[in-house]
């Protein structure tokens, strides 16, 4: 079943006139292929719509089908657009963190890291080593959490129902760790400009080690279920293959690109924080089909476990947040003694810190790809512009190349392996 038959109707280059209305007059645009073929061999243009169990969120795909074969596909997004970037413009820098977290709601630590890293770059503020280790620790835990939710829902899409329950059981373990160190399961607002909000409690390291000791065996179980599962192999092998050059042209980053053979991972290429002195490998695929994407992500989970263990071993002592009083709250006990601490505290709490004018772009390797944050500061206490370059928004463009020419069932598999998060796409 060759998936890459040259689809006759490729985009708008066929200019057949459409004759009388074939598929009802729709205010909603129909795809080019749907219109181009004329009345006698009509294509069924349907909405693979906002409310659908297999779209991993409120994504709508306008699909032109010829029987079971997808002739054209047009993603329509914006159904969960919350205007977060506009809201960020009238909040002080502290208050923007909860907004930015809720964009890509599965990898909230990475959103925080992108924004906070960008603001620290604008302020030229160095964070203490303990804070950078804690950040990496929480980000890698979040990567495992995000990949577990992806694995659970994607395997559910392909019919492996039990995977959903296994993965969500382990996900709850990760959320317990987040709850222990940050107080909240999701959207924890744990990263602060200048470091981390609070030091980790005493028993946290022990629990994380217990989790890291048990996680690889769990991953072996999952791989035992799926790796040589006949149905899973049949559904994912050689399906949705897109060449590496085309992916680079489309701006795709993350596991999708690494599965196609391009070893591009911002943790290795532009290592921020303490990634350079941790040794971990980057899984890279060869063929670039659904199966490679699955193997790359599961292997990434194993690498994250190794990173977490090393980060825990090398966790330095010392402050968990910078002590630049212009930006960071002074410790509580100093308020009663020193006058400056009181003034700084009052200034920071009422108006927030000011950032000198400038622009900065700071990118982080999120579970879905390069998550960049572009902040324009105009000297006041509120950012003039916050733009988040979301990996799912860009990777979604590769869906069309994967699905055209394949079957409808493969489209669901491609969408599952793409792992789009609609909060990030629609911001």
């Amino acid at each position: 079943m060759s998936t890459h038959r040259s689809a006759p109707a490729h985009g708008g280059d066929i200019l057949g006139e459409t004759g009388e209305e074939v598929i009802g007059t729709s205010a909603v645009e129909r795809t080019a292929a749907g219109e181009a073929l004329g009345p006698e061999e009509e294509l069924l243009t349907i909405n693979f719509g906002p409310h659908h169990p297999a779209t991993h969120g409120v994504l709508r795909l306008l699909v032109s089908l010829e029987g079971e074969v997808v002739r054209d596909l047009k993603p329509v997004v914006g159904y969960v657009h919350t205007g977060i970037e506009k809201n960020c413009e009238d909040k002080s820098y502290w208050k923007v963190i909860p907004f930015v977290e809720r964009m890509d709601y599965l990898s909230y630590f990475f959103n925080m890291e992108a924004f906070v890293g960008c603001v620290e770059r604008l302020l030229e503020l160095e964070i203490p080593p303990r804070a950078s280790y804690l950040r990496v620790l929480h980000m890698e835990l979040n990567r495992i959490h995000s990949h577990l939710v992806w694995l659970g829902t994607s395997a559910l899409d392909l019919g492996a129902m039990s995977m959903f329950f296994y993965c969500f059981r382990d996900r709850d373990k990760v959320l317990d760790l987040f709850e222990m160190s940050t107080g909240q399961r999701m959207h924890t607002r744990y990263f602060q400009v200048g470091g981390v909000f609070e030091d980790i409690p005493v028993g946290f390291a022990h629990n994380v080690r217990a989790f890291c000791a048990e996680m690889p065996s769990r991953l072996d179980q999952y791989e035992a279920i799926l790796n040589r599962n006949e149905i899973f192999l049949e559904r994912t092998r050689n399906v949705g293959v897109v060449s590496r050059e085309r992916l680079l042209e489309l701006g795709v980053t993350g596991p999708l690109l690494r599965a196609a053979g391009e070893p591009w991972d911002l943790r290795k290429v532009m290592p921020s924080h303490c990634y350079q002195d941790l040794d971990f490998k980057i899984p890279v695929g060869t063929v670039g089909d659904g199966y490679d994407r699955y193997r790359v992500r599961v292997q990434e989970m194993r690498e994250s476990v190794r990173i977490i263990e090393q980060a825990l071993d090398g966790l330095p002592e010392g402050p968990w947040i910078a002590d630049d009083r212009k930006v960071v709250l002074p410790p509580r006990d100093e308020l009663s003694t020193s006058m400056e601490a009181l003034i700084h505290h009052f200034k920071l709490v009422t108006e927030g810190f000011r950032v000198p004018p400038g622009e900065a772009y700071y990118a982080v390797e999120s579970p879905r790809g390069e998550l960049g944050c572009f902040v324009v500061a105009d000297g006041s206490a509120k950012p003039a512009r916050v733009h988040i370059r979301d990996p799912s928004f860009v990777n979604l463009q590769a869906l069309r190349d994967q699905c055209v020419g394949g079957y409808v069932a493969d489209m669901i598999q491609n969408l599952a392996m793409l792992d789009p998060i609609l909060g990030g796409i629609d911001r």
């Binding site: 598929i23 007059t25 349907i46």
Partner: protein, 119 residues
Amino acid sequence: MLRSYLPVLVFAGLGVLVGGLLAAVNGLIGPRKPNKAKSDPYECGLPSEVSRTFRFGISFYMIAMLFILFDIEVVFLYPVGVIMNVAHSVFVLVEVIIFVALLFVALVYVWRRGALDWR
């Protein structure tokens, strides 16, 4: 004479009664508020633009007919199963083999004509 059919009748009557009751009670007790959107076809939450006169591809009917053909074949094998332990004669065995072989020929023909792979 009637006595030997009584269980069948009782069983059929109960089946109809319980099935009908379950179906009817829903209609009786459930509130009924038709509105325009409820009668429209459900297409992922959007008004559907597929015209009623849309003709589906031939492959769908092909698959449906082939399924019916070979499904009936299995249904015919059930009665054989029922009498199998009583009959224990070669004649029944040969008869079943011929029946299955004939349909196997049909299967090979259909396969060779390419009706099985999806176009």
